[in-house]
């Protein structure tokens, strides 16, 4: 019997247990206060953070907010278009946040923000060699996902659809193949628009969901954080419970035996 206690079903990445299978991206929240409240509502324990140039006189530290929320940081390499920039950004993040975990992004195109597969693989290999725990944001490509695992990535994070598009899971066939072949956790990253998308990803067998815009840009981010948390949990429970097969025709749920014959 599958447990119904989600806290007894942790997500383990590189030996670290996370009680929540929802990872939260911090981009797009209107304020640090809104972010802090959404973290609590989401239940997320692993939360992304980015690096950008300091402007003189900037105030308020996201690191203080994340530290007081008690979450683990997952620095990203957002905005990097080359393996070289992504590797340097990961090293800077390790210095800034004292973690060797990195959400590796190497973007190939500004309009779609889709990953640049060869550069992603190159950067992943170099970072693994440098001792990083690499979680690559990748295309929904089963072969690339396997290659990323082969070079030592701690998880693979295929996109459901482009970042911030909210289009959900466009290629569930490929996503299923990725899950079927992977020996490391598979986390759906990008494309979630609402709670049912997160539930679907989990029902397909994904180990987690990473979500930012769907929560931060919702009309009510706090309510959406909770909705997507519940969707993630519901999908995980449904996956473990084992869904019935799809059939073309009906199958009565009431037994036929003992049906009265009124016409005589």
């Amino acid at each position: 019997m599958a447990t119904t206690d989600v806290s007894a079903d942790p997500l383990t990445i590189a030996g670290t247990e996370l009680r929540s299978r929802l990872l939260l991206g911090t981009g797009g929240f209107r304020s640090l206060d809104a972010l802090a409240t959404a973290i609590e509502a989401s239940g997320a324990e692993l939360v992304t953070v980015a690096l950008r140039r300091i402007e003189p006189g900037q105030r308020g530290s996201i690191v203080d907010v994340l530290d007081s929320a008690g979450v683990r940081l997952l620095p990203n390499t957002a905005g990097c278009f080359t393996a070289r920039d992504a590797v340097l950004t990961a090293k800077l993040a390790r210095e800034a946040f004292e973690t060797d975990w990195v959400k590796l992004e190497v973007i190939g195109d500004e309009r779609t923000l889709l990953p640049d597969a060869p550069a992603l693989l190159e950067a992943a290999e170099e970072l693994v060699d440098e001792g990083f725990t690499v979680l690559p944001y990748t295309n929904d490509d089963p072969i690339l996902a396997r290659r990323l695992e082969d070079v030592g990535c701690a998880a693979v994070m295929p996109l459901g659809s482009p970042i911030g598009s909210g289009m959900g899971l466009l290629n569930t066939y490929n996503l299923r193949l990725i899950r079927e072949r992977a020996g490391v956790p598979v986390i759906l990253d990008a494309g979630v628009g609402t709670a049912s998308d997160a539930a679907l990803a989990m029902e397909l067998g994904h180990d987690g969901v990473l979500c930012a815009s769907a929560i931060s840009r919702a009309d009510d981010p706090i309510a959406m954080a909770r909705a997507i948390r519940l969707g993630t949990e519901a999908g995980r429970l449904a996956y473990r419970a084992g869904r019935i097969p799809r059939r073309l025709y009906a199958q009565a749920s009431t037994p036929e035996e003992g049906t009265p014959d009124f016409a005589g």
Partner: protein, 68 residues
């Protein structure tokens, strides 16, 4: 001497250290979440006080922001 500090030309004293460049940006208190690269190499925090900048160095001083 002149360095390129976060993409903008800045005048620093000859022999200035990375720490001087950090101070020039008037950070609240350079705690966790700040990192420095000089000429595309990471300079660990423990070296900020001793790492001297060359004239024309490209200095990138980054901090944590929301993203991802």
């Amino acid at each position: 001497m002149k360095v390129l500090l976060n993409g903008t030309e800045a005048e620093l004293a000859d022999g200035a250290t990375v720490q001087a460049a950090v101070d020039a940006l008037e950070l609240p208190a350079a705690g966790r979440g700040v990192a420095v690269a000089v000429d595309a190499e990471v300079v660990p925090r423990t070296h900020w006080q001793t790492h001297k900048l060359d004239d024309g160095a490209r200095v990138e001083i980054l901090r944590a922001i929301q993203g991802g």
